[in-house]
C-alpha cells in the first residue's frame, strides 16, 4: 500500500493507544473548554520572574486562563497574586503591564485596595449602610502564589497540592543555574500564535526536530550524537534534559560564544539544558543565558506566548551585552531558532484544522535518548489523566 484512501486515513494507527494522539485534541471546542478549567484552572503555572518585582509594591500584570491577574510584592516582601478586577462593579484595576502601587485605586469610583488585597477605602460608605454592605468582605480574589528558584508560580485552585509536590525533581538540573546567583529578566516579548497551545509546547518537548533548524544542525548535531543525549520524564507531566551539548563554532558568527562571558553557576558555556513544566512552560539554558517561555491558551487555535531572557542581576554592562547577544542568536523574535518553532506550531495547527490530519504519531522508543517520544507520551498521559479522556480517542465516552 502507498497512499491511503479515506477509510485507511481515518483509521487509528495500529499502535498502542499511548503512542498516538487524535487531532481532535487541538480543535474540539469542548476539549478546549475542559483544558481551560481542568488543566489551566488547576495547575501551578509560571507567572513571572521575581526580578520583575524587585521592590515593595512593584506589580506585574499577566493573563492566565482568559483572565487578567497581577502579582504584587507586599510590604512584607512577599509576592501575592490577585485577579485584576475591582470588587465594586468589575472594572479592570491595573492597566499598565507593570508598575509600583502602594495603594491600588480603581479609576472608576475610587475604591482602594492594599497590596494584601484588602479593600481599604470606599468613597462615601454611608450609602451602603442601608443595604448592610461590609467593606471587610470586599477584598480582592487572592490566588495562591509561591516562589521557587526565583520563579513566581500561581494556582487558581485553592485545593490543589502544593508547588513542591507538583514540580517534584523536574527542576533539579537547573537548580544552580536559576538559584546559584540572582538572575534578572532582560528580554520579554509576547506574541499571539495561530496555533493550539500544545502544538507550541510540543516544539519544546521534541528534540528530534533538530534538523528543521539550520542553526541546530550546525551547532548541535555533531556536538553530541542523539544516542548519547538523555531525556528524563517526571510525575505530573514534566520532563527535562540536562546533558545536551553545543559547538558554537559550527555556525558562522557564533564562534566567539562561550569565551566572552562567564557561564551561569553549575553549567558550562556549551551545555544546553531544558526543563518542560506541565502544562506549558519551558525553561532552557544555553550556558550563559536562560530562556523561559510560557504559553497561555486563548482559544483552540490561538495561543499567547510569552518569552523571557535572563542574565545575572547586577552584572557589568559588557557581560549583559554579551548575554543579550547570546540570547538573540537563538531566541527572541529575531533569533535563528525560535521563529522556526513558531512556524512549526502554526503549520501543525493548519494541518489539524477542519480534520485534515487525523492523528499524530508519538511512537519512538529509544531508551530515553534524544529521539525518543517519551516526553510527549508523558505529557499526554498527564493530559489524559487530568481531563479523564484518552488522547488517542478523546471524544469517546469518558471512563467512569
Amino acid at each position: 500500500m502507498s497512499a491511503r484512501d479515506h477509510a485507511a486515513w481515518a483509521q487509528a494507527p495500529r499502535l498502542p493507544a499511548s503512542h498516538f494522539v487524535s487531532g481532535l485534541v487541538y480543535t474540539d471546542p469542548d476539549i478546549y473548554a475542559a483544558e481551560v478549567s481542568e488543566i489551566f484552572g488547576k495547575v501551578w503555572r509560571f507567572a513571572c520572574h521575581e526580578s520583575e518585582l524587585p521592590n515593595v509594591y512593584d506589580y506585574r500584570v499577566f493573563d492566565h486562563a482568559g483572565q487578567s491577574l497581577f502579582a504584587i510584592r507586599g510590604p512584607d516582601d512577599r509576592v501575592r497574586t490577585f485577579l485584576n478586577v475591582c470588587a465594586h462593579r468589575g472594572a479592570r484595576l491595573l492597566h499598565q503591564p507593570s508598575g509600583n502601587a502602594s495603594r491600588i485605586t480603581c479609576f472608576y469610583h475610587l475604591w482602594t485596595y492594599d497590596a494584601l488585597g484588602k479593600c481599604t477605602g470606599i468613597p462615601r460608605p454611608v450609602g451602603y449602610e442601608a443595604a448592610g454592605l461590609e467593606r471587610s468582605a470586599l477584598g480582592l480574589r487572592e490566588v495562591r502564589t509561591r516562589v521557587k528558584l526565583g520563579l513566581v508560580f500561581i494556582n487558581l485552585d485553592d485545593q490543589a497540592c502544593g508547588l513542591d509536590p507538583f514540580i517534584g525533581p523536574a527542576l533539579d538540573n537547573l537548580t544552580s543555574v536559576l538559584g546559584g546567583v540572582p538572575l534578572e529578566v532582560f528580554h520579554y516579548n509576547r506574541v499571539v500564535l495561530d496555533a493550539n497551545w500544545k502544538s507550541w509546547h510540543e516544539t519544546n518537548m521534541d528534540i528530534y526536530h533538530e534538523n528543521m533548524h539550520v542553526v541546530l544542525r550546525k551547532t548541535q548535531m555533531k556536538a553530541m550524537p542523539m544516542e548519547d543525549r538523555r531525556l528524563a520524564v517526571f510525575a505530573n507531566g514534566h520532563a527535562s534534559s540536562g546533558e545536551l551539548q553545543a559547538e558554537y563554532s559550527g555556525y558562522d558568527g557564533f564562534a566567539a560564544r562561550g569565551e566572552d562571558v562567564p557561564p551561569l553557576p553549575g553549567i558550562t558555556s556549551t551545555d544546553f539544558r531544558f526543563v518542560d513544566l506541565f502544562p506549558a512552560t519551558a525553561i532552557l539554558s544555553r550556558g550563559t543565558v536562560v530562556r523561559i517561555d510560557t504559553a497561555t491558551p486563548l482559544g483552540p487555535d490561538k495561543t499567547l506566548l510569552e518569552m523571557r531572557g535572563l542574565g545575572i542581576k547586577g552584572e557589568p554592562d559588557e557581560h549583559r551585552q554579551t548575554r543579550i547577544t547570546h540570547h538573540n542568536q537563538y531566541w527572541g523574535p529575531f533569533g535563528r531558532n525560535v521563529p522556526e518553532d513558531m512556524f512549526a506550531a502554526e503549520a501543525c495547527e493548519a494541518g489539524f484544522r477542519h480534520g485534515a490530519a487525523r492523528y499524530q504519531i508519538i511512537a519512538r522508543e529509544e531508551n530515553l535518548s534524544g529521539q525518543d517520544d517519551a516526553i510527549l507520551r508523558a505529557f499526554y498521559a498527564e493530559w489524559g489523566r487530568r481531563l479523564g479522556r484518552r488522547p488517542s480517542d478523546p471524544l469517546a465516552s469518558h471512563p467512569a
Binding site: 520579554y188 555556525y251 538573540n328 529575531f334 512556524f343
Partner: protein, 154 residues
C-alpha cells in the same frame, strides 16, 4: 532647522532605495548602501520590564553573515512592504541624523495584507567617496507582537 536641499534629496533617495532593496530581498544591494563600519540594531521598549531591549544587533560583517544564512532558514512566507518616510534630517558633527517613520506590511502567500509593524528608523548617514552611505540604523519598533518573528532585518 532648515536642511540643505541637496542633502535632503540625497538622504530621501538613500533611505527610499534602502527600503526597496530590503523589500526585494536584494541584500547585496542594501549592503552596498552601508558604510564598512555600519551598525544595525533593533531596539524595543518593554513596558513590562520598563527597559529598552535590543532584539537584534549586527555590524557589517555580522549582517552579511546573516543575509548569507537566510536561504537555509525556515522563514515567514510572503513579502514585506516597507513604507518609509523621512521625517527629519539633522546635521551632526560626524554624520547626518535622519529619523524616518516606517510602516511595514506583510502580504501572505494568499495575497492578503496586514500590518506587521510600525516604528522609526534612526539613521546616521555619511558621505564616502562622493556617495551617501548608511553608517548606522537603529530600528525603534512600536509594535512588539511580530507574529512568528523574522530572521531578516526589518
Amino acid at each position: 532647522m532648515t536642511e540643505a536641499p541637496l542633502e535632503a534629496a540625497g538622504v530621501r533617495q538613500l533611505i527610499g532605495r534602502a527600503g526597496l532593496l530590503l523589500d526585494d530581498g536584494n541584500y547585496d544591494g542594501f549592503l552596498a548602501l552601508c558604510a564598512p563600519d555600519f551598525n544595525y540594531r533593533i531596539r524595543v521598549w518593554s513596558p513590562e520590564l520598563a527597559k529598552d531591549m535590543i532584539w537584534l544587533e549586527h555590524d557589517y560583517a555580522g549582517l552579511a553573515q546573516l543575509f548569507a544564512a537566510l536561504p537555509e532558514h525556515l522563514t515567514r512566507p510572503g513579502r514585506l512592504t516597507r513604507h518609509v518616510t523621512v521625517a527629519s534630517v539633522d546635521a551632526a558633527p560626524d554624520a547626518l541624523k535622519v529619523t524616518s517613520v516606517v510602516t511595514i506590511h506583510h502580504t501572505d502567500l494568499e495575497g492578503c495584507t496586514s500590518t506587521l509593524a510600525v516604528g522609526r528608523y534612526l539613521d546616521r548617514i555619511v558621505e564616502q567617496d562622493g556617495e551617501l552611505r548608511l553608517k548606522s540604523r537603529e530600528v525603534q519598533l512600536d509594535t512588539r507582537d511580530l507574529g512568528i518573528g523574522s530572521h531578516a532585518p526589518l
